[in-house]
């Protein structure tokens, strides 16, 4: 049994890995990292080695190794769903990675400088619409009118959302437009890599079908669903721990 920990900016994920997920835990990354890690590993003790990844990897003091999140995502993409490309949408970043047959990174593009299209982008829009982010799929599914959000900047997109609210547009139609915007931003990021093979979508944002469906439509081609996409980097870290 090997432990993979992905200490993200918004959530910290732990996966106990033995060729498949034996156990996992997800906790919000708030306050002291030590207490977040304590609560997340409370039930997971029987592991041999641990590898940490994510922006807070350095804070996982008990880790036996640390690995870059792009490397972990590539390994998980190849190992779990045999993907040639991984598109990861996290709380504060969008990453597209091309992966070789052994799970090594061939090339990648990453935007973590700006909230455009990230989970944070979705949070800002949801809060402007006064909806819970978990309800995003249900609401977007019920849209019946096409609206569009043209700004890539989260701040300017939020202004567009608020204008729509003030003009009496429904939350369903506005959130659908937000999903369109995220998919468009993600697709344009991904297009820098020229996807020619099988791809998967990971990261917390991939939990929303409204988003993944739209990205699939924008990119086309051979898509494979990643089970439990929020855990992808932690799974990759677990696999790395097993190879130590």
């Amino acid at each position: 049994m090997f432990l993979g920990i992905d200490a993200g900016t918004r959530f910290t994920k732990a996966v106990l890995w033995n060729g498949e997920i034996s156990r996992f835990a997800v906790k919000e990354t708030v306050g002291n990292m030590k207490s977040v890690l304590e609560s997340i590993t409370k039930e997971i003790e029987d592991y041999k080695l641990c590898c940490a990844t994510g922006s807070g990897a350095e804070l996982v003091e008990f880790a036996d190794a640390r690995e870059d999140d792009v490397v972990c995502l590539a390994i998980a993409g190849r190992d779990v769903v045999n993907a040639d490309y991984v598109i990861d949408i996290g709380a504060q970043s969008i990453t597209a990675i091309s992966v070789d047959e052994d799970g090594n990174v061939i090339d990648y593009v990453k935007n973590d400088k700006c909230a455009s299209g990230s989970g944070k982008f979705l949070e800002v829009m949801s809060s402007a619409l006064d909806i819970e982010i978990q309800d995003l799929d249900n609401l977007a599914f019920r849209s019946n009118k096409k609206l569009s959000i043209t700004s890539q900047c989260a701040v300017f997109a939020e202004s567009e959302v608020i204008s729509y609210v003030n003009n009496g547009e429904s939350r369903e139609n506005i959130i659908a437009a937000v999903c369109d915007a995220v998919a468009k931003i993600a697709a344009s990021q991904v297009n820098k890599l020229k996807i020619t093979g099988r791809y998967t979508i990971t990261g917390g944002v991939a939990n929303f079908t409204s988003i993944t469906e739209r990205i699939k439509r924008a990119i086309g081609g051979d898509y494979v669903k990643f089970p439990n996409p929020q855990l992808a980097a932690a799974i990759g870290a677990g696999i790395v721990a097993g190879e130590l």
Binding site: Q92, K113, C114, A115, S116, K120, F121, V124, S151, Q152, C153, A154, V155, F156, S159, N166
Partner: protein, 262 residues
């Protein structure tokens, strides 16, 4: 002869009236939801204050909705914001060669020659970083008024470093500093400095000459102005006029040049 200019921005709208080549009045207000109504209201109030009728004045429009103001018959012609800012600043001070205009949702750096003609410009209206919105968001996170933000640069001792470019990520940094008990003025000063850096990176793309003027609403933030002067190693020229009305002034000057004869 009387000439007027209106300029509608994302947050504020301005009107200026010129008589015989002199500014006789100006007005600045928050925008209404509709840019046409904003222009009509700000100009209407100014005309009333000056005891003038709309028909006494030939009006040129710039800013949001400027074409529609012409279609609606309210303005005679419209001119781009870039031209108006260049014209307005040069008219006030003919030594100006660079105009840095920072508005609510955009920032422009405009280069002009010794005759006041446009040479080159660069503009950011795609990203909120380096615009008034950035400052608004951080002031809100700090729980202070936008007008209070600027002066905090002058009382801060050790300004924090805001590393994020993105307004949203910077807001998260500001909140973390607050949670850690860092004094507000140190954070505010860091915000002003970070804003100045964004403008510097934009300005670098066209270059800045020493004879530069800072205009737009953000020019009223003394902290940003001071930080920008430090990075650019210059002192902004004084235009002797409210820095927010330069666009509207430029529009009025164009009206005078075109319809005033010699």
């Amino acid at each position: 002869m009387l000439f007027g200019g209106t300029d509608v921005g994302s947050l504020t709208a301005q009107a200026v009236i010129l008589e015989n080549g002199k500014v006789v009045g100006w007005k600045n207000m928050r925008v209404l939801p509709n840019p046409i109504e904003s222009a009509k209201k700000v100009m209407g109030e100014l005309l009333e204050e000056l005891g003038l009728k709309k028909d006494d004045v030939i009006i040129f429009a710039t800013g949001y909705g400027r074409e529609k103001l012409v279609e609606a018959g309210y303005a005679r012609e419209h001119v781009s914001e870039i031209s108006c800012h260049a014209r307005g600043a040069f008219w006030l001070n003919p030594s100006v060669r660079t105009v840095i205009d920072i508005g609510g949702q955009d920032a422009k750096v405009i280069r002009i020659d010794e005759k006041g003609r446009l040479v080159n410009f660069v503009m950011n209206d795609k990203c909120a970083a380096g615009t008034g919105r950035f400052l608004e968001i951080q002031a809100r996170a700090l729980g202070i008024k936008l007008e209070e933000l600027g002066d905090m640069t002058f009382i801060a001792k050790n300004p924090v470093e805001i590393t994020a470019r993105c307004s949203i990520f910077a807001e998260t940094e500001v909140l973390h500093f607050l949670q850690r008990g860092v004094p507000k003025e140190e954070i505010a000063a860091g915000v002003n400095r970070s804003m100045a850096h964004r403008i510097y990176y934009l300005a670098r793309r066209v270059g800045v000459e020493r004879e530069a003027a800072l205009t737009g609403g953000v020019a009223k933030n003394k902290g940003v102005k001071r930080e920008l002067e430090k990075i650019l190693n210059l002192k902004f020229l004084d235009l002797g006029m409210d820095p927010q009305i330069i666009g509207a002034l430029g529009a009025a000057i164009f009206a005078g040049e075109k319809y005033g004869g010699k």
